[in-house]
């Protein structure tokens, strides 16, 4: 049984300009200890998908509907607010791009770590303090015992993100959702955090949903990837499958417009135009107006999610096999 099952998730927001379908029928499964990347550009619905699973969307104006959201066999949609809070603390944790916004500036790091432990694991103050020091050491903060009594502003950006990870890990969650967690960090610091996530995954078996716009990070860190566009998953599969055999026009477009540090400056192929307005009616395929690969069928019928290989699905009429790296995937 998968750790997390999401079926037909739809999240809408009522606004003055109509109903915005921010997430429009997203489904996926995540196994224990698996790392899944969720990629796409701003506004594609990556964060809203994560927030909807955690039920962190305010209703109204938001409205979350799904055929199923189960975590370890438990129906998250049926939980009471109190049960949900407990779940969020103990089983599913989330970290964000800006740790300063998630940390309380007037409380020491130690208080914030210990609070979680005392409240949700019912630890004594002494045990909680000892465990907090351990956690800071796990995430690679030197002089942990001393730093426990410092305030968030005394930490650098990379160190703050480590503190957030320590808090997120404090109750040994089985799922960690990281939303652009390294986007604001310099690359050398990002590399340290990625190292840490890899270690946590192998040592503690934590499953991770890694939300990012950076295809490079996903290629290096994730087992599988889902590509989002206009609130839908348009393609998903094992990373090697999706990167070497992209089967959706948007995935291919995304790869062609991404500059690579290991590649000499050939001209980029931008995706022309802009993402659609999610409050307006969608064409048969949301990417059609910007797609270079479009074929006649794209104007006639809605592309269904089709299987390309085991675990690899995409909803696209075009045949992109001419662009595949066939030497990489048999």
């Amino acid at each position: 049984m998968p750790l997390l099952t999401v079926k037909n998730l739809r999240t809408r927001f009522s606004t003055d300009r109509g109903t915005v379908r921010a997430v429009d029928g997203v489904s996926f499964e995540l196994e224990e200890g698996e790392v899944m990347g969720l990629v796409g550009e701003s506004g594609s619905g990556k964060s809203i998908t994560a927030m909807s699973i955690m039920r962190l969307i305010k209703e109204p104006p938001g409205r979350i509907e799904a055929d199923e959201i189960t975590f370890d066999g438990v129906d998250l949609l049926a939980l009471t607010p109190a049960q949900l809070r407990d779940y969020r603390a103990r089983h599913i944790s989330m970290i964000f791009q800006d740790p300063m916004r998630s940390l309380n500036p007037v409380l020491t790091i130690g208080r914030q770590l210990m609070e979680t432990l005392q409240r949700h694991l019912r630890m004594s103050a002494r045990d909680a303090r000892r465990r907090s020091i351990e956690l800071l050491e796990v995430v690679g903060i030197p002089r942990a015992e001393k730093r426990l009594d410092e305030y968030p502003h005394q930490f650098s950006g990379g160190m703050r993100q480590r503190v957030m990870i320590a808090i997120a890990l404090s109750c040994n969650p089985r799922l960690l959702i990281a939303d652009e967690a390294t986007t604001a960090l310099d690359v050398t610091i990002q590399a340290q955090i990625i190292d840490l996530i890899r270690r946590l995954r192998s040592e503690m078996g934590t499953a991770v949903i890694w939300i990012s716009h950076d295809l490079g990070l996903v290629a290096g860190l994730c087992d599988k990837v889902s590509v989002m566009y206009a609130g839908r998953i348009v393609e998903s599969g094992p990373v090697r499958e999706v990167f070497y055999r992209p089967a959706h026009g948007y995935t291919l477009g995304l790869m062609n417009c991404t500059p690579r540090v290991d590649d000499i400056g050939h001209r980029l192929r931008p995706i022309e135009g802009m993402p659609p307005n999610l409050a307006e009616p969608m064409p048969l395929c949301p990417f059609l107006p910007r797609c270079e690969m479009a074929v006649a069928a794209c104007r006639e019928s809605k592309p269904r999610l089709e299987t390309i290989a085991e675990g690899h699905v995409a909803s696209c009429h075009a045949n992109l096999s001419a662009y595949w790296r066939k030497e990489k995937v048999a």
Partner: protein
Amino acid sequence: MTQVVLLSAEGLTVSFPGRARPFAKPDVVRAVDGVDITIKRGQTLGLVGESGCGKSTTGYALLRLNKGTGRVMFDGVDLMLLPPEKLRSMRRRIQIIFQDAAASLDPRMTIGDLIAEALDLHKLHTGGSRQPRVRELLELVGIPQRFAERYPHELSGGQAQRIAICRALAVEPDLIICDEAVSALDVSIQAQILNLLQDLQQRLGLSFLFISHDLSVVRHISHEVAVMYLGKIVEQAPTSLLFENPRHPYTKALLSAVPVPDPDVEKARERIVLAGDLPNPANPPSGCRFRTRCPVAQSKCAETLPTLHEIEQRHSAACLFV
């Protein structure tokens, strides 16, 4: 192809007062410390480094937007010695665009007026040729004519950056300083702007100083690249040389940390993970500034300050061991 030098800076230094303490001399932060750079006509110099390394401050110093010292020769004139009224007319020839383009556009002015304002400031295309020029400029950056009547809030991020570029182009500059100009854009839009910059360079013979933390983008757009660390240039070379054969340990670590969108390449890569954070610039390490994080540092690195020296033709690095 002969390459004419457009701008060369020597010994560029920018200091800021640091924290004042009672009974002690206030700290001085040398954000930029003795930087030499050369920008050739029609070419792009990429300036890379992590936040706080002084790359933006270097860009501002070239325009005298902060109080720097040193020599900045632009087309035969030392900008540092120019009186204010002459500086203004020289600034027409060096323009700057920023990361947050929307913030540099007055929300109460139409796009057309914003572009005309740039013309008016330098008394270009006055009278009848003004409107045609605005239309021509909009076309140059790929913005439909009807946008001239619109306001900045109606623009997307990519369009706002196009308008910022358009305003810079309006005064017919020789050099545009791009300070993280594509960093806030989604990749698909970023690629549009990068291609636009390359097209404009071809058509108009523009030079760019491209300041960015994104090494993939810098490799893509630059002819030469300079790598900065804590106020100093640690390595400089033509782009392909620098990326294929980095010599300074910092450049090596930096390049190894950039993710590549290719799972097999990622798996096979050797990564140099640097320990720790950037040191406090008010109190930089003695000797080599990188030594506290350097994987190959030895005791003499604390004593001797390495200077930028040529290690092969057109390739220089500041490390005692290269």
